[in-house]
């Protein structure tokens, strides 16, 4: 099913400390974390987000700490996908592991503006910008990343392997 909603746009180097500040990390409860998502750079984020909305950002999204709480907070806050010019590697891997759709596309990240209505079709690799009438294409994932998405996340992948060992 396509991801459909509005865009919330940020700049370069959005770090995991602003995605979910460390003062909340005593908790690993997804709902508690989601309640504070992005609050240090966008205090109204949680109230604004509707299920299916997307985050759009510049370079190096998710830099900094390895906290998986960051993609977990974003996903649980209702964000359907994160689109950025580039991602920090640990965040990228974490997002794949927990099943948060993540798209690297310079064209989309630059073309989409805050508030634009977008539709993301992961299977066909296209982002429709309904506000501006633009389409942005992105290549399919390869290697372990594709396997992770296919399995639905790392827990599912490992689970299958362990079950296979009998």
């Amino acid at each position: 099913m396509p991801i459909h909603g509005h865009a919330h746009k940020y700049g370069d180097h959005v770090d995991t400390d602003v995605i979910i500040p460390a003062r909340y990390l005593a908790s690993s409860d997804a709902d508690e974390l989601a309640a504070h998502c992005m609050e240090d750079i966008d205090a109204d984020f949680v109230e604004k987000v509707e299920p299916g909305d997307v985050i759009v950002a510049g370079r190096n999204f998710g830099c900094g700490s390895s906290r998986e709480h960051a993609p977990l907070a974003i996903k649980t806050a209702g964000i359907g996908a994160v689109i950025a010019e580039s991602f920090a590697r640990i965040f990228y891997r974490n997002a794949l592991n927990i099943g948060l759709p993540i798209i690297e596309s310079e064209e989309a990240a630059q073309g989409i503006q805050s508030g634009d209505e977008v539709e993301v079709d992961l299977e066909s690799g296209v982002i429709h910008n309904l506000t501006r009438g633009q389409d942005y294409h992105f290549p399919p994932l390869v290697g372990p990343a594709a396997e992770l998405v296919e399995a639905g996340g790392l827990r599912q992948l490992v689970s299958r392997r362990l079950a296979g060992r009998g």
Binding site: H13, D15, D17, V18, P21, A22, R23, L25, A26, S27, S28, D40, I41, R59, N60, C63, G64, S65, S66, R67, E68, H69, P71, L72, S86, A88, R89, I90, R93, N94, N97, I98, G143, P144, G153, L154, R155, L157, V158, S159, R161, L162, A163
Partner: protein
Amino acid sequence: MTITEKILARAAGLDSVSPGDFVTARLSLVLANDITAPISLREFRGMGATQVFDPERVVLVADHNTPNKDIQSAENTKLLRDFAREQGLPHFYESQDGGIEHIIVPDKGLALPGDVIIGADSHTCTYGALGAFATGVGSTDAAAGMALGETWLRVPETMKFVFTGRLRPWVSGKDLILYTIGKIGVDGARYRAMEFAGPVLEGMEMAGRFTMCNMAIEAGGKCGIIAPDQTTLQWLEGRSDREYRVFASDADAEYVEVFEWDTTDIEPQVAFPHLPENTRGLSEVGEVKIDQAVIGACTNGRLEDLRVAAGILKGRKVAPGVRCLVFPGSAEVHLQATREGIVETLLEAGCAVSMPTCGPCLGGHSGCLAHGERAIATTNRNFVGRMGHPKSEVYLASPAIAAASAILGKIAGPDEL
């Protein structure tokens, strides 16, 4: 091949690898802390795993919200403690014999040359200073590592940084890594290995090398790495009975970029808010008043760091109205610092000397900043809200600069005293 490629090839059971290859690597060690491990343990059980792949090779350290800052943190540490007991893990550390993970893991001989290590903490890259491949991962990757004893990795391209020349007074490994990040930016080494080399590195003690590799992640690096030499091997003596392999890059190894810098031109560095790449030489800092100085963290909480700070603070006083907080990196560092008179010197100067913890570095506890406050810190990040209020500021520097700044109440070097 580069040292990174050789280590990954061996761990994958291959003769050779090239950048871009996906490999499945056997893991020498898997690590998690009191913030990341609770999710790891939940995922570990969720995967249907019942036993870790090797109890000797799974390390749990409670260091972030410890000494347990609240009830929830105490419950987290208890989760780790119970799991360690259930699984028979000999390497679970909290207060006694514990400390900050990236200080104690090398000190206890748990990370060795040639190892492949993943840790659910981004500063796991610290162990590259020993000639290991070590990288940060999330909690679920760590859980999979604990269950399977292996992980998938994309072989990174390598950037080489060669440091030649002489070090100016008060210039340390911290200044060289801040300078590097300033030059290439916080995503300048994204997905890449950062290999540090050259005569300056050869003359550097292990503490400075750990500091440099620790902050590879601040340039987006997948790992920092330094080929082992005599200094490394001497430092390792008596730390572990486990066999290890020493690798070095071939003369014809391929690098995606090579930088060569003469350190004679590099002065002490300060990274301004809110990115570690906002570096300036000390002479270009100007008048920046501070409310707090923090000396410690996985970046600069080693005995050598405390010796430098104490050398500067000896016989002097922390400026009125400034809080100078010192966090020895481990119980062992604390003990040695006590024996050497460092703790007494620091207390006489008006510093507070605390238990080892990551607390202030990430704005968790034990040194949070209020609205509008400013700190100089030997930590590794100065993002918005990193040490407390989103309207507070963190300036990153070496222990020498932090100590001198604490005395003068503004960012300054020891030569200004």
